[in-house]
Symmetry: D2
Subunit: 308 residues, 4 copies
């Protein structure tokens, strides 16, 4: 019996070996061609939403909230039209970005979190090198990535609020209630998008303290995700799970990423999408949200596309 509850849950829900000893894709294995085909066929209007927050200096990584040394992205011009004086009159502009891969809207890959020395599928955590990043489970190995059917559970709306209360713990029962109220059928391979409204809170009240007391999923939701063969989960807060989380800092991360091999999406913008879904009562969509092909990466920025 382990000292931490999340490790018991992790053992119970473990997907190690499920898709082979060398598997690096984890629950993305639930995304089959049929799943994608069905999702494409379910598109009804051709309406599209892009679900990322801006990549720039006014992001979540504030001095009193930036986690593990993250900063907000820095964008610098490397070429400016004023640099040119060509006979053909052409001018150009070019630029660079310097950013933590997880600064804004992003996926946490399977090399991002482990415990007791191991990553998903028993890969030693110290197989990650400074020199070239993650040797196994790098984010480029997830490609083509999260492409399939997405379902949006709007928990803030379930409670009739713009955003959930600080540290509100979203339980499996609440997920079921939202499924029921939103008339959804959950299917194998679905990508779960959870709206807490926490992004709206940031827009209205600022980023101060945004990370430390966020509403989010409880560690028990891991079982709910497992039973339904969810391929990935994303939310509009910084860490999916409620903060503080109880017995450990980010226990749900540990179970989902390390034991179940599930990639997590964070800092999504679900505001406009939720309005559109609420307007016509349809909460499922075709989701295309691949990571960038960053060799050795532990995560990646993403521009998630929802077509409905």
């Amino acid at each position: 019996m382990t000292r931490y509850e999340f490790k018991s849950i992790g053992q119970r829900l473990s997907n190690w070996g499920r898709w082979g000893a060398d598997d690096q894709r984890g629950t993305l294995n639930f995304l089959t061609p049929q799943v994608r085909l069905d999702a494409a066929r379910s598109v009804r209007t051709g309406q599209v939403f892009e679900l990322s927050i801006p990549i720039g200096r006014d992001g979540p990584q504030q001095a009193d909230g930036g986690a593990v040394g993250r900063i907000n992205p820095v964008h610098l011009m490397s070429v400016h039209p004023g640099d040119f004086d060509r006979p053909d009159g052409m001018v150009g502009a070019d630029d660079y970005i310097f950013m933590p891969l997880q600064a804004a809207t992003h996926w946490d890959g399977l090399a991002h979190i482990g415990y007791d020395g191991l990553l998903y599928n028993g890969v030693p955590a110290n197989s990650i090198r400074s020199m070239d990043g993650a040797k196994r489970h790098a984010i480029d190995q997830s490609l083509p990535g999260v492409v399939g059917r997405g379902i949006l559970l709007d928990i803030a709306r379930l409670h009739g609020r713009d955003w959930l209360a600080p540290s509100h713990p979203i339980t499996p029962d609440e997920l079921d209630e939202a499924v029921k109220q939103q008339n959804l059928t959950v299917r194998s391979g679905d990508v779960l998008l959870v709206r807490t409204g926490w992004r709206r809170k940031a827009l209205v009240e600022g980023w101060h303290g945004w990370m430390e007391t966020e509403p989010g999923l409880t560690v028990d939701c891991a079982g709910w995700l497992s039973e339904r063969e969810i391929s990935a989960v994303a939310s509009d807060n910084w860490a999916i799970e409620t903060q503080p989380a109880g017995e450990a800092w980010i226990p749900l991360h540990c179970v989902l990423i390390r034991d179940m091999g599930m990639t997590l999406g964070e800092n999504f913008n679900l505001e406009e999408l939720s309005e559109a879904c609420a307007a016509d009562g349809r909460w499922d969509l075709l989701l295309s949200a691949p990571a960038l092909r960053i060799l050795g990466g532990t995560g990646s920025p993403v521009s998630p596309i929802a077509i409905r």
Copy 2:
């Protein structure tokens, strides 16, 4: 009469004002909900391809070929599992990227190129600032970006080659020939993907000289793209157009981006996709290729998704 032919072509094909004086999306305006709906409905197998080249140190930006000061992306670990010694045994890994937005597979946005002091739709080129990038036509303004029907014209295969000869000029007639041989119907809003095979050449022969003598579209192709209301064009070379290009360095860039308001995709990987399309004779697909939401950016890395 202008001294440069490309400027005459540009004036003839200009889309300035077509979608309003404040328009920042250019030919992306051809991407309507109906276009996306039809594209989603055309998905047949649920097969998916991600069309980017790796983001890492062995990319196209070599010392003797890197354009305008671009380097290959630099990926650095900021957090390593070895940093941790927590009671709960959790370990993590986190990382940063430093890269030119156009180092690998990317979109050139409408702030990337102009001439005679102006960008698309008459926006002054010097409205771009070092301090905050592009004030108008920034890449984040393109979002949700390139989402619609993609058609792949495999010009290398048309000529029975793994890759086209250096500086091979792809003419409108060749595009028509490929359309015919590939049994395609070109529709308004289509995203044109052009395969030159030049990526395969890089994999086999290395990057040396890859940019200076690439095969690609001639400036006359601008009219072909305009007549068919193509929303965007992408290729597997570094600059879409043939190099050298004749009277100017990148005249097709000037016409497409500055006069027509068309975003260009470069460094795409079309190898596996072309094999699959050749196998079943179907060359159209649902394409989702949004830029990252980089405020003020002139371009963006992208992981283009093709579902067929």
Copy 3:
């Protein structure tokens, strides 16, 4: 008569053409071999002080104080001992820095500030390019840089305070008073170090608001510096001059850098040095504070060495 007083002062004190139309070193021209020889000979104890603040994440560039988009330096490991598994047992560590050149202790070079379209010596401000930085007056052109006799005027101590009051304006008369009380003789070529104590305030009270209300030199001090043929001036605040400054944001910068061709040092740490000087009543020293040889740079981080 110009509308701004600082422009009148600047015209009066202008060094344009003084050292030739192509001069890029400005008042550094006062640093002659004789000046350096005398400074070396004045060393009495061999005691040494390094005058920089730490380069790291807890620096002056805070969210509510960072000027013009500066951030605090970001230090990232690129190689870690854990990466190695060599027969000879060797391990290594390597790292990168990403920083604004002016994030911590630094020199402002002659390309950093101009007005009315011109830099020092009439160089057009737009000769600076994004592509390769400053064409003239780049910081590498200042090398070997600030090497000569330094004199420390401790204005905080003059007023019997740990640090001067917010926005305290240091006048020429105060500089004279300090010279007198500290028994100094000011000589041609001297590098003036001014202690406001504002760094100590940051250490005690934090960085919040550190920039907006700093004590510092008034624009009238430009004449004092000019008369004495001061080669460079540095201080322990962020901008040398008092903030707010009155009629313009940083008028002393404009006069010193643009009109007089004087490089400015900012964010110096003068705490330990001032204690040592106060202890034995000697306030002059040999100063070696070259910039880094950054091609095209507008400024540079520096580790100023004072030997006494």
Copy 4:
């Protein structure tokens, strides 16, 4: 008996514990106030040389020679005069640098190299963290750093050559010969500067292959440095020691840094200095070459100042 000769040498010359179990400065401890006083007093003309190579894109880190993932520095403008439109007419320019700390002229600190799991003075190599760099022996701990008497041994000139032959091994006997021919007296605390001429070779022939076959010191020179209480050694090649080095990749690094606690300077520019010294036959100087105060750093760029 160890399997590697360099480990035997290292054990024999070890300075572990010599300056206490917590010492982080190693042979910099030979730099006393008296040493610095004597060096200052030996200044004769006030002539000054700055000994760094340019920090920019055309540096030693070429695609076929860059070691351990280093690139050449990238300099980007963050603010440009064209960004401004102020009533007072002021314009500014600001910039960033992104660089490996060891890309150009630099010091290797005591956290840079270890073997058999340990750094200098028995500090575990894995005490270095990605999250915050070197916990002990960080480069900021070296400050005020290398300030003292420098002696230049021009081995290229000794052999009557512009630069030594590839892989030329500089032996202790050659160092003695140069001392004798250059009429030098070596003193405790001296900083040894060794000229191989390899920089001149790079300027004339380019950087290709510059690292793999450099002339440099043999591992036996460690004893020579130890006997004379040299405080630091620097050279105009990339790794001080001859390449290839024989039984290990960089054995002299291992002995000097890990066993003796000596900081190494690399990529120095000794060309102009050597010409001046040859002209008047004086090869000693006052050297001021502090690292930047980079918290947690393993090394640092430097602008070494020689005053003679």
